[in-house]
Amino acid sequence: MGDADPVKAIVTPVRLEYQCSAGRAATRFLRGLAQRKILGARSRPGEPVYVPPRGADPRTAELTEEMVEVSDRGTVVTYSIVRVPSENIKLELPYVCINVLLDGAGIPFFHVLQNCPLEEVRIGMRVRAVWVPDAELAPAVTSIRYFEPLGEPDVPFEEIEEHT
């Protein structure tokens, strides 16, 4: 003791616990997933359906209280092939991260595409959700294991371009 190298750094561990609320809007969405349903929300008929719902339309802050079920099929609006590990994702590398616009939805959301050779992933590709077995269904995004190609003809870029 005392003859070691000078102290140049210290480690100060921090551990804080929080009880988070999903909020009312996201709760409805998550509970839907536990029943294999993808629920979005809109302010009124004719307005875009937000999936997942955010409680309000971010453009206007208008409440989006009308729940609308959307399809579990959709179109790849854009994607990237992830080849770098990150702390929050436990997937084997590389994997494909897609922004998928579900049929009936007004915004795309991020998920993972599997069962598709990397070189075949493309913008406009039609995909569908693959759900976990019934026993594993839970009010969580993980109830959708991943998306996979649907084999339908691609959607022209012009039709989805505005949804990036």
Binding site: M1, P6, T12, E17
Partner: protein
């Protein structure tokens, strides 16, 4: 992770946890190195005040400081409070005092824990001395706590 409370809104535990690593620079480095050797250092300002813990700069003017000087190890309680129900992360598992302690030779006070057994033994102005950690790591907790010196 999510707790399902029936019909209510979903709630879940979120943990923010990280072992933050803090580089120390030219003043706190020697301060913690000295603590590991059971010595306490302060720093002298241009006007002659001695600050403990030492700062790289004068708190009033921002002027850079570099004259480290030994202080303590004994000192005097400037203020204190009695922590009847210690939290798990705090220095002592049983009731103790947090105190502002002016070490001998210092002009400012250091915040640390005082192990006094019971509240009635404490008073402002009481003399204290350090109790050193058995396995120093280089850090403020190399001072395990202070104890009454009377």
């Amino acid at each position: 992770m999510a707790r399902d409370l029936g019909e209510g809104v979903l709630r879940g535990l979120h943990v923010l946890e990280y072992p933050y690593k803090r580089s120390l620079g030219p003043v706190l480095g020697p301060f913690f190195t000295a603590l590991r050797e059971q010595r306490i250092l302060g720093i002298r300002t241009r006007t002659g005040r001695v600050l403990v813990p030492p700062a790289e700069y004068d708190p009033e003017t921002g002027e850079a400081l570099d004259e480290l000087v030994p202080v303590g190890p004994g000192g005097q309680i400037v203020s204190w409070c009695w922590v009847a129900r210690p939290r798990q992360k705090q220095p002592l598992p049983h009731p103790f005092a947090f105190a502002l302690i002016r070490l001998d030779g210092a002009d400012s006070a250091l915040l640390h824990a005082v192990d006094a057994g019971e509240e009635s033994r404490l008073r402002t102005g009481a003399r204290v001395r350090p109790r050193w950690a058995e396995e120093p790591q280089g850090g403020i907790r190399d001072l395990a706590c202070f104890e009454l010196a009377e």
